[in-house]
């Protein structure tokens, strides 16, 4: 059917079916009108991002991780502590299940100590708070407005404003972020965004490493260089790929839905689905990771790897050889690396920053890698991975150079 005829037909139906009556604008419509102003929108974006980040540190880390979970459950002398010691003390399972708890649960490397404390004590509060925010913002209809704001910026790297949604999802966990990158129209955009997600968008586990290691050991202001490097990488990789991969110019339309009141039941059920994913898909990897560390350590392989790869990393990146273990285990899960970082004696803040940044960018976790293979295919995943390793090596070297000049 000819489009003109079609639209004429549609208009005829609408004219006869729809009538408007004068009504004062609803509260939501009034809010909508005010916030469509770019300056108000930008101000709101800053406030929202600040609130998320602040509640992350204050409520998630300082209150729940350190104040509650790390004090009353996963600590020496608690009911849990006494219980696991009673069961496993003097058994052959002791080094694997419990480990040495003298210096706390973070680096005893037992399945029931570090293996439980890292996912439940550190990552769980952070990811819960993040997803609670995200789910509410999603249901209100805020994300497309953020997309509108990001549209002109992202256009410079060949992505539509909508790419901000997978980016934000990726800050919870890169796996759903990669799935969501399907909302982009072209293969080029999807490849670009997945590569950026894998390299420059840290997931909650990686953010936790940064907060605990850099924030906790040296001060939260030292997180700023990490954020700057990631923002720079996001833009840089986008620009590079936009330049390398040919494409036609695509006009994209952002559909702005009306603000809606979030429905508690929907928010709660989505939050539950997301948390279930964390428990059943992410947590097993932490346990496997700790097991692998134990096996590598007990068999002496870790020592050999440190001896072989260590010198290269020490010379090129300026990081201590002990960090090698963290980087190896980072292939499986990033958050366990916190434990390694804590064990390194006399680490300077620049070494910590370099280590954390490399941990964030050199490779996504095993689950994300599997998702990339599924979504992008073998060849494109190989390309992304190559780019990742090159960039991690370059960025690490640069950070080292900066630290020498400091």
């Amino acid at each position: 059917m000819n489009p003109d005829v079609k639209w004429a037909q549609i208009d005829r139906i609408v004219d006869r079916v729809v009538t408007f009556e004068d009504k004062p604008p609803t509260l939501m419509q009034r809010i909508d009108k005010i916030t469509l102003n770019p300056i108000v929108n930008l101000a709101i974006a800053f406030v929202v991002l600040y609130l998320i980040f602040d509640s992350f540190i204050r409520i998630g880390h300082i209150f729940f991780t350190e104040g509650v979970i790390g004090r009353y459950i996963f600590a020496q002398g608690t009911f849990y502590d006494i219980w696991i010691h009673r069961i496993f003390d003097d058994t052959f399972l002791y080094p694997i299940m419990v480990g040495n708890t003298d210096q706390g649960y973070l680096y005893s490397f037992g399945l029931l100590t570090t293996g439980m404390y890292v996912p439940l004590g550190i990552v769980f509060p952070a990811i819960f708070i993040f997803y609670a925010w995200l789910t509410v913002l999603e249901d209100i209809g805020y994300l497309p407005r953020l997309a509108m704001l990001a549209d002109s910026l992202l256009a410079k790297i060949g992505l539509p404003g909508y790419a901000i949604i997978p980016t934000i999802l990726g800050m919870g966990c890169n796996v759903p972020g990669m799935t969501a990158s399907r909302i982009l129209d072209t293969k080029k955009q999807r490849f670009t965004l997945s590569t950026i997600l894998a390299i420059a968008v840290p997931c909650n586990a990686q953010i936790s490493v940064a907060i605990v290691v850099i924030g906790g050991m040296y001060g939260y202001s030292y997180l700023i260089p990490v954020i700057l490097v990631l923002v720079f990488l996001y833009a840089g990789i986008g620009a590079l790929l936009n330049h390398l991969i040919p494409s036609g110019n695509l006009e994209t339309i952002i559909d702005i839905p009306p603000y809606r009141r979030p429905i508690l039941r929907n928010v709660a059920s989505k939050l539950m689905i997301r948390m279930r994913y964390f428990f059943f898909d992410a947590m097993p990897w932490v346990i496997i990771g700790i097991l692998v560390v134990n096996i590598l350590y007990l068999s002496g392989v870790l020592e050999i790897l440190e001896d072989v790869i260590g010198p290269i990393l020490v010379i090129w990146l300026g990081i201590p050889a002990e960090m090698v273990g963290a980087l190896i285990i980072g292939f499986l899960r990033k958050d366990i690396a916190i434990a390694f970082f804590y064990l390194i004696p006399d680490m300077s803040v620049w070494q910590a920053i370099t280590g954390v940044v490399i941990l964030m960018i050199y490779f996504p976790c095993a689950a994300t890698f599997a998702m990339m293979l599924k979504e992008q295919g073998f060849r494109d995943t190989l390309k992304s991975t190559g780019l990742m390793l090159i960039i991690a090596f370059m960025v690490g070297g640069m950070l080292h150079a900066v630290s020498l000049l400091w």
């Binding site: 549609i10 139906i13 006869r16 079916v17 909302i183 989505k270």
Partner: protein
């Protein structure tokens, strides 16, 4: 018989799907939440019926991944099935464009005009009876989020009709 839920993005197809199947697929207030499709089952007159949540699209021209998926799914729809075309009451014009394309596919159809509550609050009055006369398929007003109109939609499925959009134009006098 299978029921295909088809419509523009963010008109409430997934809400309706969750209502009908008791399942929990992701619902968000932005376009493109359902890129893949979901299927579930519900019981209609004692018979187990498959429900398919088609990704939201503005047209069936297969220009992006969602449209490709939607077009492919709807290809499988035959005379025994029914397409429940979900529209946003506050944006009928955009929804009807897809309606005409669905009619082109010769699918038996019913129409659900969703978000009647939002439309009423914004002073938009929709004459569902005239709508039904004009487009010749059953039309039901719905507020899926609190379940209004969902059972009426199910009861009208038996009246589903295949309509040729070309004929539609003659009937409405052009």
């Amino acid at each position: 018989m299978r029921i295909f839920l088809a419509g523009n993005p963010n008109v409430g197809k997934s809400v309706l799907f969750n209502r009908l199947t008791g399942m929990r697929v992701f619902v968000s207030n932005y376009a493109g939440t359902t890129v893949d499709y979901c299927t579930g089952y519900t019981e209609i007159n004692g018979k187990k019926t498959e429900i398919i949540d088609v990704p939201g699209v503005y047209s069936l021209s297969a220009e992006n991944q969602a449209e490709e998926v939607a077009t492919r799914i709807l290809e499988g729809c035959d005379g025994n099935d029914v397409v429940a075309n979900v529209l946003d009451a506050t944006n009928l014009r955009r929804g009807l464009h897809l309606t005409l394309e669905l009619m082109d596919k010769c699918c038996p159809m019913v129409m659900a005009v969703n978000m009647m509550d939002v439309a009423a609050r914004s002073g938009i009055i929709i004459d569902l009876k005239t709508m039904e006369e004009l487009i010749s398929v059953p039309v039901v007003g719905m507020t899926a989020i609190n379940g209004d109109g969902v059972s009426e939609l199910i009861s009208r499925i038996k009246d589903r009709k295949i309509v040729n959009p070309e004929e539609l134009m003659h009937e409405s006098g052009c």
